[in-house]
Amino acid sequence: MNKFLGLFLLSALAAFAQTKTGDIDNGKRLFERNGCYQCHGHAGQGGLAGARLAQTKLPQVAFIAYVRNPSSGGMPPFRAKVMSDQDLADVYAYIKTFPEPRAAKDIPLLNP
């Protein structure tokens, strides 16, 4: 096992250890109340103002880390005073409930 793979597995294990169980209902409430939907859409579809959240590939830990310190100039940092780690875990749990979209090829209006 090379040292890089080891580090990766260690960090993944650490991430797993830190993963919290999210409350979907509270996550939905916070997603709407605290304005996440304003840029990312009520269905997490994204748009001009914000990235798509539906079907995010980010693990929970990375998601929380990003919200704490976003790289996008347009995204505000939501610190723990505003949304706790548990709050963000709840929001993450809610985001993961967004349904898998149909493929565009299966939607006649999206095929010229």
Partner: protein, 637 residues
């Protein structure tokens, strides 16, 4: 024109007032108390006299002047300071060329003219009081100024104190009517005679139409309007249009050299195409040099399905220019902002850094250098261009294209072809990705803006359509999913980012489209519609066919996002952002409002399954020549 025959009517208003003044002067030596008694004893001497005249008023001549300019419409909320012109337009001018349009707000009048100009390529008149009417109109004039749109503003005013009869005429009168908007109009004048009026009216048209095209103001004095024509040898000057300013040939040759030598040039298109030819020229330049075109969507500049079209998604606002070695900006809005990155609002302090790569050459072709003003800051931050060419892009492109063609060697031609093929591949990938993104939340309620745009496109794509609205607030989905190619397919945005523009601009653009038989559709923000919804009645009254699809996110949403951002920045409650921004509690029923103004309307529509059939029903009404409105409850962006 006919000379007035004063002998037939000696009791004209000016003569009457002169006589009255002489009478009062004759009594001047009489003690005031006695004077009052005399007046009381002889009321008939000072009773208001009905002054009639069979002589033509000055406003008839003004109508002749405007007819000579081939102006189709005059939009106005009626006002006593230009009643003479209104009466002459209708009874002397036959209410045709210009035809009078009844507006419910001066801001609507101007924004209608703004939208009309961007379709028809020429101004229409708007009229307003020089004081209260212009105060209403001023934001819309600023929008037109920032958007380089020619709008012809005529202001009523009574300059001579002797002619102001009472309070309304005093409070409506102003010493220098155009002063209020001089910072954001190109030219104005206050003629003091009919001959002066004719010359300035023609000059105003010429100035408005010479790039950079911008609003102009002409004051029509109330006395000049209503007094009989007494001036001799009146004539209307010939309209002699100026050629648009073209870039210096040496500078254009240098721009061509840079473009041909570039390994990866890009063209940023701001307000490029003034005429249909502008689109063809930009296509020819892009294809000749093999450059991607990043369109700011301020005009219909470039076909959206062209393989060299830059990714139209979020990148419109902040395209990534880091990979290019030559950046050619054509009448770009905020060129500095496009080439620099500033500190986001979520961090303290303001810093900036270039987003272009070291050594990249920045070339600008712009006519706005010819029309700078100081007070309003629409000119943006100073751009350290490597080559700044003063001139109208459309007028300069033919020479630039020819210069480029002369410099292209077989080697460069091969490189250009290879580059163009790569851009086309990337364009295809972007379009496919956009379709996949549009599928996300396809069945969601509120309805996604992608779904709204796709449903509308399905209904209009086989028609001769015109989108008479900006699509920024719906994440540019029409640009990403539709096929924009003709000059009237798109009209851009407000210019000055002044809200209240969209609804009347759409009506004005639809008015211009009407005689061409085009199908006008507008995706209308709910917040914007609330500024002056009376323009819906204007559309109904004048039978202006237009489908208004309300993008109803029930908020002034842009500001709501800012409030959330700031609250989070300060570690405060972001859940308060609805205060002062949300348009709910109660929800506004736009369909009922529209019905009240006489439109066919449906809504609120929140189930995406209902949208397609509703669009079809509404468009049938529009195709029959009437306006219609659908209230669609949508996702925010």
């Amino acid at each position: 024109m006919d000379k007035p025959d004063e002998s037939k009517n000696p009791v004209n208003r000016r003569g009457f007032l002169t006589g009255a003044a002489a009478g009062v002067a004759g009594l001047a030596a009489t003690p005031p108390v006695l004077l009052a008694q005399q007046i009381a004893l002889k009321p008939e001497a000072h009773a208001p006299a009905e002054v009639t005249s069979n002589q033509r008023p000055g406003s008839d001549f003004m109508v002749d002047v405007f007819k000579s300019l081939d102006i189709e419409y005059c939009a106005a909320n009626p006002g006593s300071s230009f009643r003479g012109l209104q009466e002459s337009f209708v009874n002397y001018g036959g209410n045709k060329n210009p035809e009078w349009l009844t507006c419910c707000h001066e801001e609507s009048s101007v924004a209608m003219a703004h939208g009309y100009a961007k379709i028809e390529g020429k101004p229409m008149l708007i009229m307003a009081h020089g004081s209260v009417g212009l105060q209403h109109a001023s934001m819309a004039i600023y929008n037109a100024y920032c958007d380089r749109a020619p709008v012809y503003v005529v202001l009523g005013n009574i300059l001579d104190v002797n002619y102001r009869r009472g309070n309304p005429e005093w409070v409506h009168s102003v010493q220098d009517a155009a002063a209020m908007v001089r910072d954001y109009t190109k030219w104005d004048d206050t003629p003091v005679s009919l001959g002066h009026f004719a010359e300035s009216a023609v000059r105003a048209y010429k100035i408005a139409m010479t790039p950079p095209t911008e609003p102009v103001v002409l004051v029509a004095d109330g006395t000049l309007q209503e007094e009989p024509i007494t001036e001799k040898n009146l004539r209307i000057p010939k309209l002699a249009m100026s050629s648009p300013p073209q870039g210096d040939s040496n500078a254009v040759a240098e721009a061509a050299r840079l473009l041909v030598a570039a390994e990866n040039p890009v063209i940023v298109a701001g307000r490029v195409a003034r005429t249909p030819r502008g689109i063809d020229l930009l296509v020819e330049l892009a294809e000749t040099v093999g450059a991607r075109v990043q369109d700011q969507r301020l005009r219909m500049n470039f076909p959206s399905a062209h393989p060299l079209y830059g990714h139209p998604g979020a990148a419109i606002a902040t395209p990534n220019l880091s990979g290019y070695d030559v950046i050619l900006g054509l009448e770009v809005q905020d060129f500095w902002g496009l080439t620099h990155k500033m500190t986001g609002l979520n961090k303290f302090g303001m810093e900036s850094q270039p987003t272009t790569r070291p050594g990249a050459k920045i070339v600008s072709i712009s006519a706005i250098e010819l029309s700078h003003k100081s007070n309003y800051q629409d000119f943006g931050r100073y751009l350290e261009a490597d080559l700044a060419i003063t001139g109208d892009p459309e007028a300069t492109l033919p020479e630039l294209i020819e210069a480029v063609k002369k410099l292209i060697t077989p080697d460069r031609r091969r490189a250009i072809a290879e580059r163009s093929a790569k851009i086309a591949e990337a364009n295809q990938r972007d379009r496919e990705r956009d379709r996949e993104l549009a599928a996300v939340a396809w069945d969601a309620s509120p309805i996604s803006t992608a779904r709204l745009s796709a449903e509308l496109w399905a209904q209009i794509k086989n028609e001769d359509w015109s989108l008479v609205s900006n699509d920024r607030f719906v994440s540019y989905w029409p640009t990403r999913l539709w096929n924009f190619s003709k000059p009237y397919h798109y009209i851009g945005a407000q210019g000055g980012a002044g809200i209240g523009y969209q609804a009347p601009a759409a009506v004005g653009a639809a008015l211009a489209n009407r005689k061409h038989g085009r199908l006008s559709v507008s995706i209308q923000g709910d917040g914007d519609l609330n500024y002056a919804p009376g323009v819906l009645w204007t559309a109904a009254h004048h039978r202006i066919p237009l489908l208004t699809v309300v993008h109803n996110n029930r908020a002034y949403h842009e500001e709501r996002m800012y409030l959330t951002l700031l609250a989070a920045k300060y570690d405060r409650d972001p859940g308060t952002s609805d205060i002062g921004t949300a348009l709910n509690g109660p929800n506004i029923d736009y369909a009922s409002i529209a019905k009240g103004y006489g439109l066919y309307a449906e809504g609120p529509i929140s189930d995406p399954q209902d949208l397609g059939p509703a669009l079809k029903r509404a468009l049938e009404r529009v195709k029959n020549g009437e306006p219609a409105l659908l209230d669609v409850v949508t996702q925010p962006r």
